[in-house]
Symmetry: C2
Subunit: 341 residues, 2 copies
DNA sequence: CTCAAACTATAGCTAAAACCTATAGTTTTC
DNA sequence: GAAAACTATAGGTTTTAGCTATAGTTTGAG
C-alpha cells in the first residue's frame, strides 16, 4: 500500500470517474488506473465496480474509504502541527536561568516573548549554573541563561551582559563609604552561597586575588533568603548589583561598590550545539539580546542559527512538467513538480 | 510524504537508532537515513536530534509521531476490515426473492447460511421478479431469486429448479378429479395476481396455449391473501405447487395438477455480470444450489465465480531476497519480497 | 591517549516503480 | 450506426529507492 494509491482511491471515490480523478491528482488516467488496480490486487478485492461508464464503490471499497479518509486526515494534521511549530503557533520552550538573573531579567523578557508568541508554552526554571548545564545535556532544557565561560565542547554560548558584584550590607552596619577595597572584606562576617555554586566560587576567586580569606558566617542557597538575613544584621554579602538594585525598594540595605579588583562575571545564553532548535528557541534568544540592549543601551552579538543543512530551502521552479513522475500537489500531499526547461 | 517514510520514522522513534530501525524494516541503514532526511526536508524541520550515538525525537518529531501512529493504525484497520469482508467475517448481503419462493425456500436457506456465516448481515426482500431485476441493475440488490429466463444482457443467471403451477381450489369446490385439463379452467372463477406480475403473465401464456381465456374475479398481489380468498370460496387460483404444499397444513384447500399443457417455469439466481461479488454473495449462491439439491434430490450446475482477473492469486515465494527494492513485511504493511532463484 | 567499535551521512551505481503517450476495447448517447 | 466517453493494456522513458562502499564523528575500552 502506498500513500499515492490512497490519494488516487479517494479521488476516484469522490468523482466516480477515473478520468476526472486523474485530473484532480495531476496524473494521466492510465497511471491512475494502474495504481488502483495494484491496490486492489494487494488487498485481494475490487474496491470499485466498473459498470459501463459508472464507477461505484464496492462494499469493500466503502469500508476501506472510511479508514483511508481518517488516515489521510491524521497525516494532514501531522504536517499541520509541525507547520504550526515552525511558525511558533504551538510548542513548548523550557528555559533554565540563574536564580539571580531570574528576578530582574526574566519578567520583562517573558512579557515581551508572550506578547509576540502567545501560543508558546514557556517554562522558566531558576537553578544553579551547573544544573543548567546538566539540564541542557540531558535535553531537559532547551536553552539556558547562565554564567560564562562554559568550557563544554558540545555547548554553544552567547554572551549577553557583564554583571558586577557588589557588597551588600545591612542599613545598620557602618561602612563609612560607598566604595570599599576587596581587602576590607577580611574583617566582615559574610553570608554567602554554598561552595558548589558558581557565584560562590567566583567570590572565592576574587578574594584570593586580593589575598583575602572570606569569613563566612552563614551559607544559604536562596538569594532572597540571603538578603533577608543581611537585612536582619546577620552579616554582609556579595551579590550581583543589578539583582540587588531591583530589590532595594523592598529592603533596607546598603550597596557598596568593590574595587581592587572589581568582581564581575559574564552572563550569557547556552545551548547544545548539535541539537535542533525550533523557532521558539531562536526567537527567545534573539529577544534576550534585544532585551539586554534595552536594559543597558549596549549592543550584543547576533545569535547564529541552525544546522548546516538548509531544511527550508526550496527546489527551483521548472517551466514545463517533466515526462517522468510528477510530485503530488501540496496541501493535499498530492502535487505537481515543475522544473526549469 | 510517503508511507514508507512514515514506517521508517516510527521504527527510528521506537529504536532511537538508525541501524536497528533499518534492520526492523528490512532495508539498509543508508536507505533509511536518506528517507528520514527526505521527510525532514519536506516538513522543513528536524524530526530527530542526532547527538553522538543518541537519536532522540525533537519536539516536532514528538508531535508528528502522535498523528503518524494514528494514521498507520487507520490503514491497518482499513486492510483488516477488507480482509474480514473477504473471509465473510463482516459485510452485508441483500437478496431479492420472489414472494412465492420466499416462504418455503428462504427459511431453510437463511438458517444454513447464518450457521456458516454468523457475521454477515443478511437482508431478504420479497418482491416481484421485475423489481428484482431493476433492483439488481440499480445496485440495491446483490443477488436475486427470480423467474427465468431473463433476457437482459448485463445479467448472469443460474437455473435452480423448475417449479410447476397447480390449480388451487377451495375444499368446498367439487372438481371431481385430482388432475384437470387447462381447458377446464374456462368455467372457473379465478383469483389471480395483477397483470404486471410475471406469474400472472405466465398463467396468461399457458391459458392462451390451451385456447382459454381465464375468468378473473379477483386480483391480489399477495399469495397469502390469494390463498385466504380461495379458502373462503371466492374462486380458485393457479400458484406454484411447492408454495402451496408448504402451506397446506394450515389451509383447507385442494391441489389439482394441471395438464395439457402442464404450466411450469424455471426459478433461478440472477446477478449483474460485471459487478464484483464478494465472498458472501458467492457462498450464498453456492448454498442456494446445495439447498435445492437437498429439497429435490436433483443436481444443479455449479456457479462459476468471479472476474477473469484472479484477485486472490499470490506471487510465488522466492528463495533469496533480491538486490533491488524489498517489499514491506505484511502485518505491519512492511514486508520482505522474496523470489525464486 | 590511542584505537577500535558504533553510529549516521554521502557517493555512485543498479533495479524497480511510476510516469507518459498511443491505442484497444466497451459502453452509452445522439 | 457512429461518435463520444470511458477504462485497461502496451511499450518506452524518467524518476525513485534500493544497494555497497566508505567518509566522518562519537564513544568506550585498554
Amino acid at each position: 500500500m502506498e500513500l499515492r494509491q490512497i490519494h488516487y482511491f479517494m479521488a476516484v471515490a469522490a468523482h466516480q470517474n477515473f478520468t476526472r480523478a486523474a485530473e484532480q491528482v495531476h496524473v494521466s488516467q492510465p497511471s491512475l488506473s494502474i495504481q488502483i488496480g495494484a491496490l486492489e490486487r494487494e488487498l485481494g478485492t475490487r474496491l470499485f465496480d466498473r459498470l459501463g461508464r459508472k464507477v461505484v464503490l464496492t462494499q469493500a471499497g466503502e469500508l476501506f474509504r472510511v479508514h483511508a479518509e481518517r488516515a489521510l486526515r491524521e497525516l494532514d494534521q501531522a504536517a499541520q502541527v509541525v507547520h504550526e511549530l515552525l511558525g511558533a503557533k504551538r510548542g513548548r520552550l523550557v528555559v533554565g536561568t540563574l536564580s539571580t538573573v531570574n528576578s530582574y531579567l526574566i519578567a520583562p523578557l517573558v512579557s515581551r516573548f508572550k506578547q509576540r508568541f502567545p501560543d508558546i508554552h514557556l517554562q522558566v526554571h531558576a537553578q544553579p549554573s551547573s544544573d543548567i548545564v546538566s539540564g541542557l545535556l540531558a535535553n531537559r532544557l532547551d536553552i539556558g541563561i547562565c554564567l560564562l565561560p562554559l568550557t563544554h565542547p558540545h555547548m554553544t554560548t552567547i554572551p549577553l551582559f557583564e554583571e558586577r558584584l557588589a557588597l551588600i550590607a545591612p542599613a545598620s552596619m557602618s561602612i563609612g563609604t560607598v566604595r570599599t577595597r576587596m581587602q576590607d572584606l577580611a574583617r566582615l562576617p559574610l553570608v554567602l552561597m554554598p561552595v558548589d555554586y558558581c557565584l560562590r566560587k567566583m567570590v572565592e576567586v576574587e578574594c584570593a586575588k586580593a589575598g583575602v580569606h572570606p569569613q563566612v558566617v552563614l551559607e544559604m542557597s536562596s538569594p532572597e533568603g540571603i538578603l533577608q538575613a543581611v537585612a536582619e544584621g546577620t552579616g554582609a554579602t556579595i551579590l550581583p548589583e543589578l539583582y540587588v538594585r531591583s530589590r532595594l525598594p523592598a529592603t533596607r540595605l546598603q550597596v557598596i561598590d568593590l574595587y581592587d579588583p572589581t568582581p564581575r562575571h559574564m552572563v550569557g545564553l547556552a545551548y547544545l550545539t548539535k541539537r535542533y532548535r525550533g523557532v521558539a528557541a531562536e526567537e527567545f534568544a534573539a529577544l534576550c539580546q534585544r532585551t539586554m540592549r534595552d536594559l543597558q543601551s549596549a549592543s550584543s552579538p547576533t545569535l547564529t542559527a541552525g544546522y548546516p543543512t538548509d531544511l527550508s530551502g526550496r527546489t527551483p521552479l521548472r517551466s514545463t512538467p517533466p515526462k517522468g513522475r510528477p510530485l503530488l500537489r501540496s496541501g493535499t500531499t498530492l502535487k505537481v513538480r515543475r522544473r526549469v526547461g
